[in-house]
């Protein structure tokens, strides 16, 4: 049984992540993933799977194994340093009423 699964796994098409630009001027956004033999097929499949209703004008695909992600267990030390730096936001500063646009 395990032998059989191993054998089939060898031929399983690699996994790709799909990013779609929904209209000109916007960012590509993660839409989902799919399996494909190569990049060209991944783009073609992404068109069929993720843009059947004109959801996109541009598609990026990247093989999932090439994505490096931050570790959710490290979130605290990763993002905490930004917490006490509210002076990075414009609302931190008090301006006199007379200054209308700044």
């Amino acid at each position: 049984m395990t032998q059989e699964i191993k054998k089939t796994n060898k031929t399983e098409w690699p996994l790709w992540e799909v990013f779609i630009r929904s209209k000109a001027g916007l960012d590509h956004k993660h839409a989902g993933s799919l399996h494909a033999a190569d990049a060209q097929m991944a783009v073609e499949n992404a068109r069929d799977v993720y843009t059947r209703r004109m959801e996109g004008v541009s598609i990026w695909v990247v093989e999932s194994r090439h994505i490096h992600a931050s570790d959710p267990d490290q979130s605290e030390s990763m993002y905490e340093p930004a917490n006490d730096k509210i002076y990075r936001h414009p609302t931190f500063y008090n301006l006199p009423e007379e200054v209308k646009y700044m």
């Binding site: 799919l34 399996h35 059947r52």
Partner: protein, 312 residues
Amino acid sequence: MSNSFQEHFDRLIDSEVTIEPKDWMPDDYRKTLIRQISQHAHSEIVGMLPEGNWITRAPSLRRKAVLLAKVQDEAGHGLYLYSAAETLGVTRDELYNQLHTGKAKYSSIFNYPTLTWADMGAVGWLVDGAAIMNQVPLCRTSYGPYARAMVRVCKEESFHQRQGFEIMLTLSKGTEIQKKMAQDAFNRWWWPSLMMFGPPDAESPHTAQSVRWRIKRLTNDELRQKFVDVTVEQAKVLGLEMPDKDIKWNEERGHHDFGAINWEEFRNVVKGNGPCNKQRLETRKKAWDEGQWVRDAAMAHAEKRKSRKKAA
């Protein structure tokens, strides 16, 4: 240590924060999700078969184009959901293997035959209608990839129900024979549609845990009642009779009472003894086996192209 992981997880669940693939999660949560999501994916894939039966015999080009688009959507929904399940650490091949060996289940509704064109109407109206009722609450489920897949599915699903209702409406406003055909399809699909919501709450031991985990947001009986209430009104518009003499408005409950469901039949179909279980699985396996050379060829082609690129 594991205790604090559990506490952290519980806190996220209680504060309606989404769980993502790399977050720590209890084994049972992972297992239950893999089972539920893959079962749903299998249902979408097998669900293409009863409708595929009518694509070549659709009564007009418009109906044919619509049915093709609907079946294509179902393939898409299956793919979204398989991908969501894969984020939990199971491979696509394993999932297919579970379906093909009968280890995994799919919705028992697809083990009923589609005998006439009116069945395309009844399936869209009732089966997709019941599915939507099940699925809309899942757009807010606790597991991120599943919730996002469900949002996509639900957006696309409402066209499915409307096209089914439109077929039923056209038939019920047609000739005497057409109307009879619509009623017959309604009669045959009604009870299996009610069974789609699963066994009664009293016999569904995992419901409490799943509701706690926000994998399920309403119980089987709550959803079933909602479905009965809306369908009664829609059947009036169609001018068709509810296939249940016991359906009656209950002022006190603010809901319709309805007749007893034949759970013996349900258990039988789930066990594999429905009218089409064997045929569905065989068709599915045949498609998979006969597609093997295509998958192999695509892989070989990709390898060849890669090595050619390297050489250049």
